[in-house]
């Protein structure tokens, strides 16, 4: 049994899909016309799909964002016109949970950087489940710095539960590595477009997401901490993750309301993995459009706009009761 809620729900649908396919092939070879049965089954299938996936709770979205078949960074990067991966932090090692390099997107040279989780256990072990170590963040910083020097727009793909919480990561100063990324992204003199394609978990996600334009997929999540982490921190009970997911306002729809993200790319009914190729095309089109808009700005204007955008975020009041900076 999968620990993914969505995968579990899909099992019944997969069974229906199999039966429809069987009937279709039988219909083609046998004299009896079964098209009305097929149509009825297909009708039922669409109905179930709508019932199960028509509206998702935050907790269901968390599972959707973590779906094993959801397109990963490399699924997007492999659809650029060209990609030449650049490796390593120049200090200690290459972190496979970060994939980055020079790329052509719709003919335009860019720097592409993404967090990469695995599709199976073996790849997940190699890629540390998409949780970057300090070496990964140092690679991100290096590539962002290079992009800024060369005038290449930066395209990031965010997909991580969070930064790696291990002994070696602490020994190699995970905090410093993330802090240095944030610093680099606040000063890069090129357009930055970030897309949260799966799970955006805490500072480990933000390290790739200070951007002039932030996109989220419809069922992606982006959160101050994973729901499990939040429940553990606040209530010392990781099993209350579902409750935490509901309170954290981690959906794309909530975050657009707060002004934290700029655009939502819709997913097909049932999630991005039901039409991986289509969703990649859509996202890359939107990323390209955003870069085209942003390249019209001078580096100084970009930096000023970026500063104002982050300076404004957050709701607070003065003692006079006047609400300042409420971003709705």
């Amino acid at each position: 049994m999968s620990n993914n809620l969505i995968v579990e729900r899909e099992k019944g649908l997969l069974e229906l899909e199999r039966r429809i396919a069987e009937l279709r092939s039988a219909n083609a070879t046998q004299p009896v016309d079964m098209s009305s049965e097929i149509a009825a089954l297909e009708q039922k299938y669409r109905q179930i799909l709508q019932e199960v996936f028509g509206s998702l709770t935050p907790w269901e979205k968390v599972h959707m964002a973590r779906h094993p078949n959801r397109p990963t960074s490399l699924d997007y990067i492999s659809r650029f016109d060209r990609f030449d991966e650049l490796h390593g932090d120049r200090q200690y090692r290459d972190d496979p949970s970060i994939v980055g390099g020079l790329a052509l997107l719709h003919g335009r040279p860019v720097m592409a950087i993404g967090q990469q989780r695995g599709r199976d256990t073996k790849e997940n072990l190699r890629r540390n489940f998409g949780m970057p170590a300090p070496e990964g963040y140092r690679k991100v910083r290096r590539l962002a710095h290079l992009a800024s020097r060369l005038g290449l727009p930066i395209v990031t793909l965010v997909d991580t539960k969070g930064a790696d919480p291990g002994i070696s990561s602490e020994e190699h100063a995970q905090s410093e590595a993330i802090a240095a990324c944030l610093h680099e992204f606040t000063k890069a003199r090129v357009p930055i477009v970030a897309t949260v394609i799966g799970e955006g978990g805490s500072g480990g996600a933000l390290a790739l997401a200070i951007a002039d334009h932030v996109i989220m997929l419809e069922h992606s999540t982006y959160s101050v901490a994973s729901p499990e982490g939040c429940a553990a921190i606040l209530w010392s009970d990781a099993t209350k993750a579902e409750e935490a997911a509901a309170r954290l306002k981690l959906t794309a729809q909530d975050l657009q309301r707060f002004g934290i993200i700029d655009e939502i790319v819709p997913e097909p009914l049932g999630g991005a993995h039901r039409d991986g190729s289509g969703i990649v095309t859509r996202v890359l089109t939107e990323v390209d459009a955003a870069i085209a808009r942003l390249t019209a700005r001078s580096p100084e204007e970009l930096l000023e706009d970026r500063y104002r955008k982050y300076r404004r975020l957050g709701a607070w009041q003065t003692t006079q009761g006047e609400v300042v900076g409420q971003s709705t």
């Binding site: 291990g166 002994i167 990561s169 805490s202 934290i260």
Partner: protein
């Protein structure tokens, strides 16, 4: 050292709560300490040298020469997510205000240290575990912007459990806001010193705490990205005691120096002497 007027006023306001306890027991050696002696010793245990967690205003009084003018004090919290669990977020905030005598988890302002004009931010673990929400982010940004205008160095004392859960993503993006403010401040030729005190973890560690030009840590302070419990659960083994201490980070090359609290002011003045062109006339 005479008590400055601003601190006398504050003390009289919250004399009922925190000052009420006459005695404090050292959590390290068990010694029972008279609270006034402890305060005079900068909250360092007279017997074993344990550094107690310090309140923001006590800290300011041990670091600043005399007057201290706050900035951003008018910025107070909202409840952007309408958070409710066992209590509402609003109730948690007012409870902590009662207990700590603070309006939020950081106090920022301007004063002099050894005759040098500086901007000073001091976080306080007694308020929501020093977590960073919109108010902390906003006050730190205001401090750095004003220090940039005045062209004076900035010193930030950190003490934080990380980002504040009850403000969700609006808390997380304060890491971006403060980083942007640090970048503008330091790129403009100004110097930022950070002093990491117990504990400095999570989103504060991973933003301005580790963006200092010189990073000082207080002796034995716990400093790290992930919490000890999280790491132990992940690796399923107990971590050695010195893991994530200031001394451990010094050995690993993550910070510049470890300083005992009573030598902190002197250290900061020495650092200012190297980096500030003109000494302010007293």
């Amino acid at each position: 050292m005479p008590m400055p007027e601003w601190l006398r006023i504050r003390r009289s306001k919250d004399s009922d709560n925190r000052e009420a306890a006459l005695w404090s027991k050292c959590p390290k050696c068990g010694e029972v300490l008279y609270r006034r002696d402890l305060l005079a010793n900068a909250y360092v245990c007279m017997r074993c040298g344990h550094h107690f967690r310090m309140g923001a205003y006590d800290r300011i009084s041990t670091i600043i020469d005399g007057d201290f003018t706050e900035v951003g004090a008018e910025v107070l919290g909202g409840d952007p997510l309408g958070w409710v669990d066992k209590k509402t977020y609003g109730a948690k905030l007012s409870g902590d205000r009662e207990k700590s005598g603070l309006a939020e988890a950081v106090v920022c302002g301007f004063g002099q240290i050894g005759g040098f004009d500086v901007g000073l931010g001091v976080m306080d673990f007694h308020f929501r575990g020093g977590t960073m929400g919109t108010v902390v982010g906003e006050r730190i940004a205001l401090l750095l912007e004003e220090a940039r205008r005045r062209r004076v160095p900035c010193i930030i004392f950190t003490a934080s459990g990380g980002a504040r859960m009850e403000e969700g993503m609006l808390a997380l993006v304060q890491m971006a806001k403060t980083s942007a403010a640090v970048t503008r401040f330091t790129d403009d030729g100004n110097v930022l010193f950070t002093v990491l005190t117990d504990p400095t973890t999570g989103g504060v560690a991973a933003s301005f705490a580790f963006q200092g030009d010189v990073i000082v840590a207080e002796s034995k302070a716990v400093i790290g990205f992930a919490g000890r419990r999280v790491i132990e659960q992940t690796i399923r083994q107990r971590l050695p005691d010195q893991f994530q201490t200031a001394e451990f980070l010094l050995e690993k090359g993550a910070i510049d120096m470890v300083v005992e609290r009573r030598a902190l002011k002197e250290t900061l003045v020495r650092l200012l002497e190297y980096t500030v062109g003109t000494r302010v006339q007293r």
